[in-house]
C-alpha cells in the first residue's frame, strides 16, 4: 500500500517536474518529495524484510497485456533490492536538493529523475514478463534522457546513443529469454514460468540470453562499453544512481531469472559466470587505473565490482547444482552483501565526485589536488568511501570480499575438475582486482584530495550546501556500520536467500554474535566489531606511548623532498605518472599501451614531451567491427534508392516470376 502510494507519487512528481519551469524552489521541492517517496519505499522494503512470510500478496492491476493484466508482487528478494535501491535514491534525492541549483539546466533533469526512480522500483515488484520489461525499458529510457541532460556536449550525445543501443540490445535478449520461458502459449506470468518445463536446449538458451541481457545492463565485459561513457555523462547524483543502484537492478534481473524463474542452472554456467566475473573485475580495475577523468574512473570501478559480485553468483550456481546447498547460500550471501556495500560506497564516491565538480568545475585529476583542506567534510567522507571500496578492514567492502574468498576457498570441494582448476585462477583474478582497486583509489584520492592544488580552480574550491555534505557523511557512517556488524546483515540476508537456495544460511553458532564464521568456527572467522575495538584501543595505546615517551612539539616548515625545493605544483606526481608502473606491468600487452618520449636536442629550450597511447581492444575490434560492417552493408543497400523506374519494375517482375516458380515447384510435389 505504502509502496503503491510512493510509486504513484513519483509519477505525479514527474509531471510537477515538467511544470517546475525556472523556479529553483520548485525543483528543490520536487527533490524533497522524491526523497520522501523513496524513503517510504525504503521503509516498505525494510518492513517486508522484517516479516517472516517470504512472498507478499500478488497485486493484479487491469492493464498490461490484455488477456493477463499486470501482476505485481513483493517477495524477500525484491524487498531486499528495494532497500538497496532506495538507500541510494534517498541519498541522491537529498543530494539533489542542494545540487540542482548548480546544474546548467535543471529543467532537463528534474522531470526525469522521479521517472528514473519509478522505473527502477517498478522492475523490482513486477511479477510478469511484460511489466518487467516495460519497467526495465522505462528505467533505461529515463536514464537515457538524464544522460542527455547536458545535450549540447556532443560526447554526451554519443554516450547516450551507445547507451540506448546497448539497452535495446539487452532488452531484446531478455525479450527472447522470456519468450522461451513463456512458451508458445504465452504464459508470461512469473508463476507460470516457474512451472514451465525446459528442454536442455531451451534451458541453455535461457541462461545465455539472461546473462547477455542483464549482463549488458550490469556492465559485464565485453558488454560494458556503454557504462563508462554514459554514467559520467549524467549529472553526478544521477551517475551515482546509475552506477550504484541501476547496475544492482540489472543484477536483480539476473538473480531473478537464474535462481528463481529458471532455478536449475547447470554448474558449467556457474563456472562460466565466475570466469566472466573474474575477467570483468580485472579489466574493469585496469581501465579504471588508466583514467584521468574522475567520474569515468568511478564508472570503470563499478564494472570491477560488478565482476566481483558475479563471481559470487556463479560460485553459488555451481554449488547449488552440485548439491552443496550451504555453500551455495554462503556464496550468494557474499554476492548480495557486496551488492549492498557497493551500492553504498559507489553512491558516496559519485556524490563526492559531484561535490568536487561543483566546487571546482574540474573533473580531470590532472587539475585537482589539495582539496582535503578546502573541503574537509567531503574529503573525510571520500576517504572512508575509498578505503571501503579498496576492501580495507574494518569497513564493509572487506567483509563481502572476505565472504567471497571464504566461499571461493571451498570451491575445490566441487567434484568437477574444471572447477578445481578454475577456482584458484578466479581467486587469483579476484585478489589481483582487489589489490589493484586499492592502488586505483590511493591514486585517485591522493591526486584529487591530497598534495597541492594543480590548478587555480582547485585552489579556489568553494563551499557546498549542507544537504550535500550531510548525505555523504551519512553514507560514510553506513560504510563503517555495515563493516562492523556483519553478522547482523548476514542474518537479515538469510531470509532472502532461503527460497533461492533452499537452505537457511546462518553463521556457525558456537562463536556467537560478533564472530562471522560461515562454515564452522575452526574454518576461519572474522569479526569486524572486535577488530575495530582492538584496533582503536591499540591506536590510543600507541598515541599514549608516543606522547608518553616523547615530545608533542610540531614545527611547520617547507617540504624537505631531498632538498629539491620545488615550489611549482606541477612537480607533483600526476595521475598518469602514478599509473605508469601498473600501465607498464599490466597494460603493455593487454591494451597495447605505448609511451613515446620526445626529448629536445641539448640547447633546445622546448619542453620534453611524453605521450601515452592506450588502445582498448574491445572498442577497436568488437564494437568498431560491428559498426564498420553495418556501414558497409548500408552503403550497398543504399544503391537501391537510386535506380530507374524500369529497374524497379524489373525487381517487381523478378519477384513475381520467382514466386510463380516457387508455386510451380511446390505444386509438382
Amino acid at each position: 500500500m505504502l509502496i503503491a502510494a510512493a510509486l504513484s507519487a513519483l509519477l505525479t512528481l514527474a509531471v510537477l517536474g515538467v511544470l517546475a519551469g525556472d523556479q529553483l524552489w520548485r525543483h528543490r521541492l520536487v527533490y524533497v518529495c522524491c526523497a520522501l517517496a523513496s524513503a517510504a519505499l525504503l521503509v516498505g522494503g525494510l518492513k517486508h524484510l522484517g516479516q517472516t512470510p517470504g512472498t507478499g500478496p500478488a497485486i493484479i492491476l487491469p492493464f498490461g497485456l490484455p488477456w493477463m493484466s499486470a501482476h505485481f508482487r513483493l517477495d524477500n528478494l525484491s524487498a531486499l533490492f528495494m532497500v538497496i535501491v532506495n538507500v541510494g535514491t534517498v541519498a541522491a534525492s537529498v543530494f539533489g536538493i542542494g545540487y540542482c541549483s548548480h546544474l546548467p539546466q535543471p529543467r532537463r533533469v528534474t522531470p526525469f529523475f522521479p521517472l528514473f526512480l519509478f522505473g527502477m522500483n517498478a522492475v523490482l515488484i513486477a511479477d510478469d514478463a511484460f511489466m518487467f520489461l516495460v519497467s526495465w525499458e522505462f528505467m533505461s529510457l529515463a536514464s537515457w534522457l538524464l544522460v542527455l541532460a547536458d545535450h549540447k556536449n556532443p560526447e554526451n550525445r554519443a554516450a547516450a546513443m551507445v547507451y540506448l543501443m546497448m539497452a535495446a540490445f539487452g532488452t531484446f535478449c531478455l525479450l527472447t529469454c522470456f519468450g522461451l520461458l513463456a512458451g508458445a502459449e504465452g504464459g508470461y506470468a512469473f508463476s507460470a514460468m516457474r512451472a514451465a518445463p525446459l528442454t536442455p536446449v531451451t534451458s541453455f538458451l535461457v541462461v545465455l540470453l539472461a546473462v547477455l541481457g542483464a549482463g549488458s545492463k550490469a556492465g559485464l565485459v565485453p558488454l560494458h562499453a556503454w557504462l563508462p561513457l554514459a554514467h559520467p555523462a549524467a549529472p553526478s547524483h544521477v551517475s551515482a544512481l546509475m552506477s550504484g543502484v541501476m547496475t544492482k537492478v540489472a543484477l536483480y534481473g539476473l538473480i531473478r531469472i537464474l535462481f528463481d524463474l529458471h532455478g536449475h542452472v547447470s554448474w558449467g554456467w556457474g563456472a562460466a559466470l565466475m570466469l566472466v566475473g573474474g575477467i570483468t573485475a580485472v579489466l574493469g580495475v585496469l581501465y579504471a587505473i588508466l583514467q584521468d577523468d574522475l567520474k569515468t574512473m568511478l564508472a570503470y570501478s563499478t564494472v570491477e565490482n560488478i565482476g566481483i559480485v558475479v563471481i559470487g553468483l556463479g560460485l553459488s550456481i555451481a554449488f547449488k547444482d552440485s548439491g552443496e546447498k550451504a555453500l551455495a547460500a554462503l556464496a550468494l550471501v557474499a554476492g548480495l552483501y557486496h551488492m549492498i556495500n557497493h551500492s553504498i560506497f559507489k553512491t558516496l564516491l559519485f556524490l563526492s565526485a559531484g561535490a568536487v565538480i561543483t566546487a571546482t568545475g574540474e573533473r580531470d585529476l590532472g587539475k585537482l589536488g589539495g582539496l582535503l583542506k578546502r573541503m574537509p567534510w567531503t574529503g573525510a567522507a571520500t576517504l572512508v568511501g575509498a578505503a571501503a571500496i579498496s576492501a580495507l578492514p574494518p569497513l564493509n567492502g572487506f567483509v563481502s570480499e572476505w565472504l567471497i574468498f571464504q566461499s571461493l576457498f571451498k570451491g575445490p570441494s566441487l567434484p568437477h575438475w574444471a572447477m578445481k582448476f578454475g577456482v584458484p585462477v578466479v581467486g587469483a583474478m579476484l585478489a589481483l582486482a582487489a589489490a589493484l582497486a586499492a592502488s586505483c583509489f590511493v591514486r585517485a584520492y591522493g591526486i584529487a584530495f591530497l598534495g597541492r592544488p594543480r590548478s587555480r580552480a582547485a585552489a579556489a574550491a568553494h563551499h557546498l550546501p549542507g544537504t550535500m555534505r550531510w548525505t555523504m557523511a551519512v553514507l560514510a557512517v553506513l560504510c563503517i556500520v555495515l563493516g562492523t556488524i556483519p553478522v547482523t546483515v548476514t542474518d537479515a540476508l538469510s531470509g532472502v536467500i532461503q527460497p533461492l537456495t533452499g537452505v537457511h544460511f546462518a553463521v556457525s553458532a558456537d562463536l556467537g554474535w560478533p564472530w562471522l564464521s560461515p562454515v564452522s568456527s575452526t574454518r576461519g572467522s572474522y569479526s569486524g566489531t572486535v577488530l575495530m575495538m582492538t584496533g582503536l584501543s591499540l591506536f590510543v595505546v600507541s598515541i599514549l606511548l608516543v606522547h608518553g615517551f616523547g615530545t608533542t612539539k610540531v614545527r611547520r616548515a617547507d617540504a624537505w623532498d631531498c632538498g629539491h625545493r620545488e615550489d611549482i605544483p606541477e612537480s607533483q606526481y600526476t595521475g598518469q605518472s602514478f599509473a605508469q608502473p601498473m600501465r607498464r606491468a599490466f597494460c603493455t600487452s593487454l591494451f597495447a599501451a605505448r609511451e613515446t618520449v620526445e626529448m629536445p636536442e641539448p640547447g633546445d629550450l622546448s619542453p620534453a614531451r611524453l605521450t601515452v597511447r592506450v588502445i582498448d581492444p574491445i572498442w577497436t575490434y568488437l564494437y568498431g567491427g560491428i559498426g564498420r560492417l553495418v556501414d558497409a552493408v548500408a552503403d550497398q543497400v543504399n544503391r537501391i534508392q537510386f535506380l530507374t523506374v524500369r529497374r524497379y519494375l524489373l525487381m517487381m517482375f523478378a519477384t513475381l516470376v520467382f514466386m510463380l516458380l516457387v508455386v510451380a515447384v511446390r505444386q509438382q510435389q
Binding site: Y526, T534, F539, E566, P569, M582
Partner: protein, 320 residues
C-alpha cells in the same frame, strides 16, 4: 596462562622484540660486509631519539599526513597481535584470519601511500605509486598462499593451521614447499628488502618505502620505522609459525598445568626461529643485488604463479 593474558603478552612481545630483530639483521649484514656495525640494540636508541625530537610537518601537509603514522603502526601492530608467536591460545585469534591479515597490512600500506602523496612532492608520489604497484602483485600472491594453506588444512585461521600441522595433518608436500617459496618472496617485497627495495637507501631514484616516509621526522618517523620493524617480525612469526611450528604451545585440556612451561618453550623456540630467519635474511641480502624497478612485476608475478601452482599441485598429490 589464559588466552587473555597470552594475548596481552603477545601484543607487547612483538613490539618489544621488533627493533632487536632489525638490529640483529643490520649487525649480521655489517659483519658480512666486513664492518663492525652498530650493536643490535641500536634501533631502540634510534627510536627513542626520534621520539625526543620535534616533528617537522610540511606546510602543504594535511591531517592525513599526521594521522598516517599512528594508523599505520596500529594496523601493523594489530596484524602482528593475531599471528601466533609462542602459543596458539590467543584471545583475538578468531577475529582475523590470513585474509584479514593481508587486508590489515593493506590498510597500513594504504595510509602510508596516502601520507607519501600528501605533502605533494615528486618523491612521495613516486614512492606511493611503486609501493602500490608492488602490493598489487604481492597481495594476490599472499592470498594464493593462504588459499593453498586453507586447502591443505581446511581453514584460513593461522592458529588453526598451525594446530593442524602440529597435529601431523601434513607431511612434506610439494605444495607446501611452493607456498613457502611464494610466502618468502612476498615477505621480501612487503618488507621492502633487497632485491625489491633497499631499507638503508636514501636519495636514490630506486627507493620505494623510504620515498614515502621521506617527509617524516621525529615521532612520526619513529612510528613509521617501528611499523616496518613490527612488520618484519610479523612475517618471521608467520613463516616460522606455519612452516616450522615446532615448539609452539597448543592448548589442550589435559595438560593445563604444564601450560606455562609449554609456553616458555614456545617463547624460546620463537626467539630461536626469529634469529635464524634474521641471519638468513642478512646473508641473503648481502649475497644478491637490487633489481631494476620495472623487473618487480616479473619477480612478484613469479610469486603469484608459485602460489597458484601450490594450489594446483594439491590436486596432483590428491590424484596420485
Amino acid at each position: 596462562m589464559s588466552a587473555v593474558l597470552a594475548q596481552i603478552v603477545q601484543i607487547f612481545l612483538v613490539v618489544a622484540l621488533a627493533p632487536l630483530i632489525t638490529g640483529w639483521v643490520r649487525k649480521v649484514k655489517s659483519r658480512l660486509q666486513g664492518r663492525i656495525g652498530a650493536s643490535p640494540l641500536q634501533p631502540y636508541r634510534d627510536i627513542y631519539r626520534l621520539l625526543q625530537k620535534e616533528a617537522v610537518v610540511a606546510h602543504s601537509a594535511s591531517w592525513v599526513f599526521r594521522a598516517a603514522p599512528y594508523v599505520t603502526f596500529s594496523a601493523v601492530w594489530l596484524a602482528a597481535a593475531v599471528i601466533p608467536t609462542f602459543t596458539t591460545n590467543l584471545l583475538l585469534a578468531p577475529a582475523a584470519d590470513l585474509i584479514a591479515l593481508v587486508a590489515l597490512l593493506g590498510l597500513a600500506r594504504f595510509w602510508t601511500a596516502l601520507a607519501g602523496m600528501d605533502v605533494g612532492t615528486a618523491f612521495g608520489g613516486m614512492g606511493a605509486s611503486r609501493e602500490m604497484m608492488i602490493a598489487s602483485l604481492a597481495e594476490p600472491a599472499m592470498l594464493m598462499v593462504s588459499f593453498s594453506l586453507s586447502l591443505i588444512s581446511g581453514t584460513t585461521s593461522p592458529t588453526q593451521i598451525i594446530a593442524f600441522i602440529l597435529g601431523g595433518g601434513v607431511g612434506i608436500e610439494v605444495s607446501m614447499g611452493l607456498a613457502l617459496a611464494a610466502l618468502i618472496m612476498v615477505a621480501i617485497a612487503e618488507n621492502g628488502r633487497i632485491p625489491i627495495d633497499n631499507p638503508a637507501t636514501h636519495l636514490e631514484l630506486t627507493m620505494v618505502h623510504e620515498a614515502m616516509v621521506l617527509e617524516y621526522s621525529g615521532r612520526h618517523l619513529a612510528l613509521m620505522e617501528g611499523a616496518a620493524m613490527v612488520r618484519l617480525t610479523l612475517f618471521m612469526a608467520l613463516i616460522g609459525g606455519i612452516f616450522a611450528p615446532w615448539g609452539m604451545a597448543v592448548p589442550s585440556p589435559e595438560m593445563s598445568g604444564a601450560n606455562v612451561l609449554a609456553e616458555m618453550v614456545g617463547l624460546a623456540a620463537f626467539l630461536a626461529k626469529c634469529f635464524v630467519l634474521a641471519t638468513a635474511l642478512a646473508v641473503f641480502e648481502t649475497m644478491i643485488a637490487k633489481m631494476r624497478v620495472f623487473r618487480y612485476a616479473d619477480f612478484l608475478g613469479g610469486a603469484l604463479l608459485l602460489g597458484l601452482l601450490a594450489t594446483i599441485f594439491l590436486y596432483v598429490s590428491e590424484a596420485v
